[in-house]
């Protein structure tokens, strides 16, 4: 077991896979010599060289187009889009090309590629560099969508994504890059489409993703210690494929669902979970479903403003105490 930061786990996963398979290549802006603007890919350029780790111009469409073209013809590329907000610049390649090619060609095209990107707020970068957009990807048929919350999950899920024969969008939460966690030694490969239950409690089920997971866990501890409310916490980890069975089972047990989402309110990933729960286990619900989300606004930049808009552990505690009886 080693204690790694979330960002170190990114580099370790990529290195693990690049050592294992020569067809794995990596491209993006400032990822090579500079080790990435978030220092999430330090050491890869040194170990694998400029042929396999390529710095690109500022050309998001070309980056993803190159990833698609090379994946179609035998490589297993990892493409970095520096800030997930920039996906909007190359969204055609993601949503119209990569996502649809296999289906449109009657199964002829294969695209074993990974698009990894730094997602979400908390860094005071302002609205165009802070949004959480994994819900954009969730809505497009043909994309797998992953958003890990811990270093061990980063390593295991990124390795799994690289090995996956389908296109995977891998959302790293930039506010989590510095957090530390224990990662098992040796080769680590997790399974996409599996959620994790981090805590057991009988009064309410909190379902969270990525940066919201540590906040949900902290809130659950305070709820137990200060308010006598016991919460189950589920880390969704994978939006597509979705581990629906785990979520339904854990919500059935308590009858109360609370989602914690960094996405702005409308069509955040939790809306789909709430809909599935209301549809499939309606008769197990013991009260209204609650979604705790960022409000439906672009994120403000100043410290206090940004912190107040993103769901905090304190807000999670407060809303549960006020609404879950």
């Amino acid at each position: 077991m080693a204690e790694l930061t979330y960002r170190e786990a990114v580099a370790e996963a990529i290195a693990q896979e690049m050592r294992r398979d020569e067809d794995v290549v990596f491209l993006g802006e400032d990822i090579g010599a500079a080790g990435g603007v978030f220092k999430a890919t330090v050491g890869l350029f040194k170990e694998f060289g400029p042929v396999r780790v390529r710095d690109t111009p500022i050309s998001e469409q070309a980056i993803l187009g190159a990833a698609m073209g090379s994946a179609m013809t035998g490589l297993k590329p990892i493409a970095e889009i520096m800030f997930s907000d920039f996906l909007a610049v190359c969204w055609d390649i993601v949503a119209n090309e990569i996502a649809k090619a296999r289906y449109m060609t009657g199964g002829q095209m294969s695209m074993p590629l990974v698009i990894r990107t730094a997602n979400g707020g908390g860094s005071r970068f302002g609205a165009q560099h802070s949004q959480s957009v994994e819900n954009w990807a969730m809505m497009v048929p043909g994309l797998k969508v992953v958003a890990p919350s811990s270093p061990a999950d980063v390593k295991g899920l990124l390795a799994a994504a690289i090995r996956d024969p389908d296109p995977v969008m891998f959302f790293e939460q930039k506010s989590l890059y510095p957090i530390k966690g224990f990662v098992p030694d040796g080769e680590l490969v997790d399974v996409l489409g599996t959620a994790k239950v981090l805590r057991d409690g009988g009064d309410v089920t909190i379902v969270a993703l990525a940066a919201m997971v540590p906040r949900a866990v902290k809130a659950a501890e305070e709820l137990s210690a200060q308010h006598g409310i016991e919460a189950t916490v589920v880390d969704v980890r994978s939006l597509v494929p979705l581990d629906t069975q785990t979520i339904l089972r854990e919500v059935s047990k308590t009858g109360r669902l609370v989602t914690v989402e960094e996405n702005p309110r409308l069509c955040g990933w939790g809306a789909e979970i709430a809909s599935i729960v209301a549809d499939e286990i309606f008769w197990d619900l013991d009260g209204p479903i609650m979604r705790i989300t960022t409000p439906h606004i672009p994120l403000p930049a100043a410290d206090e403003l940004e912190d107040a808009t993103m769901p905090s552990a304190e807000r999670i505690v407060r809303e549960i105490v006020e609404n879950i009886d």
């Binding site: 698609m68 073209g69 090379s70 179609m72 449109m104 060609t105 009657g106 002829q108 294969s110």
Partner: protein, 358 residues
């Protein structure tokens, strides 16, 4: 420079035994770098495209082809010239006006017509339609309906070739309008910087959908005049001369295979019909179509073959043979049933499934 002539595309009936010299006894023209076998392959390709596209036109009028269809009547020489110059394992990418490129790489006629008519025998099992013709086994790596998207994708395929050092070339066909979209610039730039073995071919038919390209482009040759921005030479050729296209292709491929990077080639051509089947083309100035019809690549090549001493009955014979093949393919695809509804829920993922949840 002399190069080995390309064998006839896979899947086609082999041409009849090499014809004897012309009965007239005309001497072969000196400097025939292309050679008879290749010329006949070019002729066959031109005929196949012309007859299939013409048939598609007719089938559309009979309401057997639905949706929209972007016909390449008039563009045959570009497709034939490049396809015949390509190796089997080279890759080609084209736009939604891509029937000709897909056929030229060797995809079957019933596959193409069947897909246009939405039948089970279609290349894409009826799932993609006219704008997305693909045959990966022939190296036809997709027809793309979003302008410009496939340029970086074609560049990506070239990256595979460079990385694995296979000598394969990626060929990317697009129209004049594409040169004005962002992805064009990104792909050309990155291909040039990385010196990728990709050949970008602009089929300049003077019109971007309904607007003359000159009205919306800052330079005269939309591709040719931009090449310098990427450190590439300006190459503008007569896209209706199959031989010229063939020669240009060979040069570009040699450069790419030698590791000297991409080419950008502008082929001047013209489309005989409207932008799509729905468009009668009334925006063209009077006389323009007629002038270009005089340069129709197919009759032009018929004359070229005669010039190079190929017997008339060989020329006509191939024409009749291809037409018969098109007739047969038409019947086969008409008889093919619509795709089963079970095809709806397959092939989103590599395992053949579509499920997003457990």
């Amino acid at each position: 420079m002399a190069t080995k002539p390309k064998a006839a595309a896979k899947g086609r009936a082999k041409p009849k035994a090499a014809p004897k010299r012309a009965a007239k006894g005309k001497a072969w023209i000196a400097n025939d770098d292309i050679g008879e076998e290749t010329r006949l392959a070019l002729w066959r390709s031109l005929l196949e495209i012309r007859h299939v596209e013409q048939r598609a036109y007719d089938l559309f009028l009979q309401n057997l082809i639905k949706g929209t269809s972007h016909l390449a009547l008039g563009h045959e020489a570009v497709a034939a010239g490049f396809a015949i110059a390509m190796e089997k394992d080279d890759w080609s990418f084209c736009t939604y006006r891509g029937h000709h490129h897909t056929l030229a790489r060797g995809a079957s006629m019933e596959g193409v017509l069947g897909e246009l008519m939405g039948r089970e025998c279609g290349l894409l099992q009826g799932k993609g339609g006219s704008m997305h013709l693909t045959s990966v086994e022939h190296g036809a790596m997709g027809s793309y309906a979003i302008i410009g998207a496939h340029l970086p994708i074609a560049m990506g395929a070239a990256w595979t070739s460079q990385y694995k050092d296979t000598g394969q070339v990626s060929v990317c066909f697009f129209g004049d309008g594409t040169t004005n979209i962002g992805a064009f610039h990104e792909a050309l730039n990155m291909a040039a910087v990385w010196k990728l073995p990709v050949v970008f071919v602009c089929e300049n038919n003077l019109y971007m959908e309904y607007t003359p390209i000159k009205d919306v482009t800052a330079v005269h040759n939309p591709a040719g005049d931009r090449a310098a921005s990427y450190g590439l030479p300006k190459i503008v050729i007569d896209g209706n001369d199959a031989d010229e296209v063939y020669r240009t292709a060979q040069t570009a491929f040699a450069k790419a295979r030698a590791g000297d990077g991409p080419s950008l080639i502008e082929c001047l051509t013209y489309r005989h019909s409207g932008h799509s089947r729905a468009d009668p083309g009334d925006y063209r100035p009077p006389g323009e179509l007629e002038a270009w019809l005089k340069k129709d690549p197919v009759p032009r090549y018929r004359d070229r073959l005669a010039e190079f001493g190929i017997a008339q009955d060989v020329i006509d014979g191939m024409d009749a043979e291809v037409l018969a093949q098109v007739d047969e393919a038409t019947e086969v695809s008409k008889a093919s049933p619509p795709p089963g509804l079970d095809l709806i829920d397959v092939d989103v993922w590599a395992d053949g499934g579509t499920s997003w949840r457990n």
